[in-house]
């Protein structure tokens, strides 16, 4: 059902955890639909120096969280905003059709975190 890449990221998720003094935090999803993702970023000079996540959800949700954090690490804020759910799925060698909705979470969480970052910058 899942590709080897998905299984690898599920079994060995990258960047799991919290960042204590994160200057960007995103939280999306809800318990009702069954997937929640929280993302922490440390953004310095417009670059995502570090990123960590916590996800409550299925295999697809955990694997996309892991892959998406890998893909934005070291990128500029603008580059991170360009990351699409499609690109994450492609990087994972695809997902079953009924799992696509679970994978949207990562893209949304990244946007949410960056929005939080910009709000803090303007405060």
């Amino acid at each position: 059902m899942y590709s080897e890449k998905v299984m690898d990221h599920f079994a060995h998720p990258r960047n799991v955890g919290e960042i204590e003094n994160a200057n960007a935090v995103g939280l999306v999803g809800n318990a009702k639909c069954g997937d929640i993702m929280k993302i922490y970023m440390d953004i310095q000079d417009n670059i995502i120096k570090d990123v960590k996540f916590k996800t409550f959800g299925c295999g697809a949700a955990i694997a996309t969280s892991s892959m998406a954090t890998e893909m934005v690490k070291g990128k500029t804020v603008e580059e991170a905003l360009e990351l699409t759910n499609k690109a994450v799925m492609e990087a994972l060698d695809g997902l079953p059709a009924e799992k696509i909705h679970c994978s949207v979470l990562a893209e949304e969480a990244i946007r949410d975190a960056i929005e939080d970052y910009r709000k803090r910058q303007n405060a």
Partner: protein, 397 residues
């Protein structure tokens, strides 16, 4: 992966060797069509079919051999019972009573009928999944023609008060059907003791083959065909009989009935050890369904707070354990199991459910293995969960 433990016997069971042996002759030697009476191999098939039907009737306690109708699955038996009776009694009334925790075969058939002018009452259940006979009686109206309540629930193992509900139905002269698919091989089933009018069975839940079931229909109950065509099954269900499958069903039934007491004792023991071990080792968990004798002897169902069911299944699979979950993601739908919602679980608790269903071959070793691998899996997923993080932060405040 060395160790492999199958803990999904509520989903299906392996085919027993003795059952396969009982089936083989009908593929190779007695391959005739039971309707072809003008030559020997056809007559042999016809006679074999009669004997098998007679045996099934006896094993289920049916008064008459003609009350057993073989079908192509448990789902077909359920669909036939609901649609066939609803249509046959249409002139008398259009109201059906069932419960919120039935198998999708029953619920799907009822929803279909609702689109075609029938009215269906889906009864609530209590926190353990129990349907109350009083609620059934209270739901009866002048136009009620059918009541269908399952004997035992496939997700949380609730055994329903079928005898009492059958009495209510009899008192009001309403046809009563029960889906006993999960019950066979796990508790005594005798259609006359239970007092039911119709009862569904599926062979693959008790070490028989997949794709064969039966519907017990008490003489006197009127039922329309679901499958039209030839004159098989007394003209009630067309299709050349799956004689090998039927032989498998009957052999598996025979073995299940003969070994019932012994098997139930084994399964109860493994079930209770699993429940106890999990409760001792894993905090913040909830046993779904009843305890003790009101619970199917082979079913265990837990919710683990702050984690999602499909992830649990995937990690169990990496450890060689086959199990199932009522989470939305595990089923590919947007909602968690209707059964878990019906017993009042909030969505996030329903998403974290795990069903482990034992068999008579489950060993203490298997149980110990689950109790060894499951706690670190749950902990690992909790350490990854933002809900658990929130919970811990709340605790430390």
């Amino acid at each position: 992966m060395s160790k492999s433990v199958y803990m999904d016997n509520n989903a299906t069971t392996y085919l027993k060797k003795e059952v396969l042996d009982a089936m083989m002759p009908y593929y190779t030697d007695i391959y005739g069509n039971a309707s072809s009476k003008f030559y020997a191999v056809g007559r042999e098939a016809e006679q074999a079919l009669y004997k098998l039907r007679e045996k099934a009737a006896k094993l289920l306690g049916a008064a008459n051999v003609n009350e057993i109708y073989f079908t192509g699955s448990g789902c077909e038996a359920d669909n036939w019972a609901i649609k066939g009776v609803a249509n046959a009694y249409k002139r008398k009334g259009n109201h059906i009573i069932t419960s919120k925790i039935e198998h999708h075969a029953i619920l799907g058939a009822c929803e279909y009928l609702e689109k075609h002018g029938f009215e269906v009452t889906y009864l609530d259940v209590d926190e353990y999944g129990r349907v109350s006979p009083e609620a059934v009686e209270a739901a009866i109206k002048d136009n009620t023609v059918l009541i269908s309540i399952m004997t035992a629930n496939n997700e949380i193992g609730t055994i329903e008060p079928i005898k009492e509900i059958a009495e209510v139905a009899k008192k009001h002269k309403i046809v009563f059907h029960t889906d006993a698919v999960q019950a066979i091989g796990h508790m005594p089933i005798n259609v006359r003791d239970l007092g039911v009018d119709m009862l569904s069975v599926s062979a693959h839940k008790f070490h028989g083959p997949k794709g064969v079931g039966l519907l017990y229909i008490k003489n006197g109950v009127r039922i329309d065909n679901l499958i039209h065509g030839g004159g098989q099954e007394r003209g009630k269900r067309a299709a050349t009989e799956n004689l090998a499958g039927i032989a498998g069903l009957v052999k598996a039934l025979e073995i299940a009935v003969e070994n019932l007491d012994k098997n139930v004792e084994i399964m109860r023991d493994k079930r209770d050890k699993l429940i106890k071990g999990i409760q001792e080792k894993i905090p913040y968990c909830r046993l779904n369904g009843p305890v003790g004798d009101d619970r199917l002897c082979n079913n265990v169902n837990f919710s683990f707070q702050y984690v999602e069911g499909e992830s649990i299944l995937m990690m169990l699979d990496m450890n060689g354990v086959a199990a199932s979950s009522g989470s939305a993601c595990a089923s590919g739908s947007l909602d968690p199991s209707h059964v878990l919602l019906a017993i009042g679980l909030p969505h996030e608790i329903a998403h974290g459910s795990l069903r482990l269903s034992v068999g008579e071959d489950t060993t203490d070793n298997d149980v110990d293995y689950i109790i060894e691998v499951l706690p670190p899996i749950i902990q690992r997923l909790r350490d990854m969960s933002p809900l658990y993080e929130d919970f811990l932060k709340g605790e430390n405040k």
